[in-house]
Amino acid sequence: MYMIESGNVAAATGVQLARTQVIAAYPITPQTPLTEKLSEFVESGVLDAQYIPVESEHSAMAVCIAASTAGARAFTATSANGLLYMHEQLHWAVGARLPLVMCVANRGVGAPWTVWNDQQDSMSQRDVGWIQLYANDHQQIIDTTIKAFRLAQTVSIPVMVCYDGYLLSHTYMPFDKPDQEKVDAFLPPFTPRHFLDPEDPGNFNTVTLPDIRPGVDGTIEPGYMEIRHNLHQELREAIEVYQEIDREYQEQFGRGGTPLVEEYRCDDADYVAVCIGSLSYQFRDVIDLMREKGAKVGVMGIQMYRPFPDQAIVAALADRKGVIVFEKALSYGNQGPLYGDIKSALYSCEKKPALSNYILGLGGREIKTSQLIDALTEACAGQAAEDAPRWIGLKL
C-alpha cells in the first residue's frame, strides 16, 4: 500500500510493522515526529507496545537496554545532542549484545546550536560497536528499519538506522508500506535464550576480570578481552549476514539489492563520487548532467557504514582514476571520517585512485547542484587530489 508521508512516519511505520514491544524516547528535533507517531500508534491500539516517555535520551536507552534484557523487542530514536547524551549507553547496549534498533534523524551538533542536517552526530558514534545503516529515501527508511530488527536479533548487535534530518525526516514522498503478514513471516518474534528470568537467575553485565576465569561448574569463561574480541568478529560477520537478509527481503518484497553500497552509473565511470545518505541521490541529477557532457562519472552511496564493508568498497573503487568523497561530517583536526576509512581500505590496491575530500552541508548549509558539478569537475581534472578537505559553499 502506497503512502505519502514524512520520513519520520516511514520509520514509525516500520517500527510498527516490526511489532516492537517497548518504545522509549525523548523529544528532539528533527526526530520528534517519529516518536509522536509511535505514541499515537500505541494509544490508538494500532501497535500493542509499551510507550515510556522518559526524561532524557540517556534514560531512553536505559529503558531499551533493560527491556531487551528482559526479553522484549525495544526501540528508540534520537538526533544530534540526544545521541551524544546516549553515548555511554550505546557502548553498554552493544557490550550487553542487545538487539536494539534506533533511528537517528541526522542533525548537526552544538555548539553553536543547530537543528539542521549534517551527519556529525552518528559519524561521531561510529566506534561504539553499533551497526550503522543509512537510508537515502523513505522507501529505504521503512525497509531498512524492518531489516534492521532482523539483523539485530540475528547477530545480537544493536543497529542504528540513520537518515538525514529534515531532508528526509520532514519531507513527504511516496513509499510502499509492506503487508503486515509478509513482515511477520520475514521477522520472527524476539525469543532470547537468556533473559531476566527468576526461574534461571543470571546476573547480566557483571564486573569482568582482565583474565579468563572458571565458572561455578568449572568451565572456563571468557574475560573482558575475549568478549570484546567476539563482538568485533561477529560485527565483521554481520556484513555477510546483512547481505543474506537483504537478499531474502528482496525476494519477499521486491526491493533492496544494495545492502552495502548503492552505485549509480558507476559501471564505466572513471571518477566516482562517494557519499552517505540523501546526498547520494541528489548527486544522481549531477551525474546525469555531467554524463550528458561526456564526463565518465558515477556516484556511490554508502548504505552500511559500520561494520565497514571494505571489500565491497575496494571492489567498487579499485580501478577508478579518481574517488571523490563528499561528507557532511568531519573528524576535526584530520579529515572526513568516511574519507579516512576509504583511503585506508584502498591502501592495499595496486593501482590507487586519486583521492579527494569535500566537506559540505554542515549545519544544514544548502547544497546546490551547481556546486556539486563544479567540485566534481574540479576533482576530475585532478585539481583536488590532496588529503586536506576542500569546503563547498563556505562564505568566509
Binding site: L167, T171, Q282, D285, I367
Partner: protein, 187 residues
C-alpha cells in the same frame, strides 16, 4: 535543473495549514500519475503566525533532489497579508503563476509579469460552512482551477482522506466553491 520537475512553492503562516494543503495536492498528484512527488516544509523552527513556506515538486519521474525550491513554476499564497512581508515571487520563473487568496479582483494585483489567479478563499470557506480562517482546503480548489495540473475530483478525494474526523465534507465543499470562484487575470 531537471526540466521535467514542476516546482510549486506554498506561502502561508505557521498553523495555517500550508503543509497540509501541499500534502493533499501531493497525494492527488501521485494518484493522477506523477510518480515523483516531494513535499518539503520549511526546515527549522515553525512558529504559529510567522510566515512559512513549503516546497512541492512533482514530476512523472522519481525525484532525487530534496533541496528547497529556488525557481518555482508557481507560488500559492494562502494569505494576501503575506504580500507585505514576503517577496512571494522570489525566483519565480518568467512565465510563472501566482495563486492568491485575496479579497480583491485579479486585476488589482500585479507581480511583474507573472500570471495571477485570485480567489477569496476565506469567504468561500465560510460559505461552505467552515469556521472563518480555514483556507487550506479552499485554496486547493483555486490551485486546480488555475493550474489544471490535477483534476478537482482527485483533489476532493484527497481532501476527504486528509480531513478524516475534521469536517471532510465541508472542507471538500470549500474547495469546490473556491474552484468556481477563482478568477484568472490577464497578463
Amino acid at each position: 535543473m531537471r526540466k521535467d520537475i514542476i516546482e510549486i512553492r506554498w506561502h502561508g503562516r505557521g498553523g495555517q495549514g500550508a503543509i497540509t494543503a501541499a500534502k493533499i495536492v501531493a497525494n492527488a498528484a501521485f494518484v493522477s500519475g506523477y510518480k515523483g512527488v516531494v513535499m518539503a516544509p520549511t526546515f527549522g523552527t515553525e512558529r504559529r503566525g510567522a510566515p512559512v513556506f513549503t516546497s512541492l515538486k512533482i514530476s512523472k519521474q522519481k525525484i532525487y533532489d530534496l533541496s528547497p525550491i529556488t525557481t518555482p513554476d508557481m507560488v500559492v499564497v494562502l494569505d494576501h497579508s503575506l504580500l507585505e512581508e514576503v517577496n512571494v515571487v522570489d525566483g519565480l520563473k518568467d512565465d510563472g503563476l501566482v495563486i492568491l487568496n485575496g479579497p480583491k479582483p485579479a486585476s488589482e494585483y500585479s507581480f511583474a509579469g507573472a500570471r495571477v489567479a485570485v480567489a477569496d478563499v476565506t469567504s468561500c470557506g465560510v460559505q461552505a460552512g467552515l469556521p472563518p480562517g480555514i483556507v487550506n482546503s479552499g485554496i486547493i480548489g483555486a490551485f486546480s482551477k488555475a493550474t489544471g495540473l490535477v483534476e478537482l475530483d482527485l483533489l476532493v478525494t484527497a481532501i476527504k482522506d486528509e480531513f478524516v474526523g475534521k469536517k471532510p465534507e465541508l472542507n471538500a465543499k470549500a474547495a469546490e466553491i473556491t474552484y468556481e470562484n477563482t478568477f484568472i487575470g490577464d497578463i
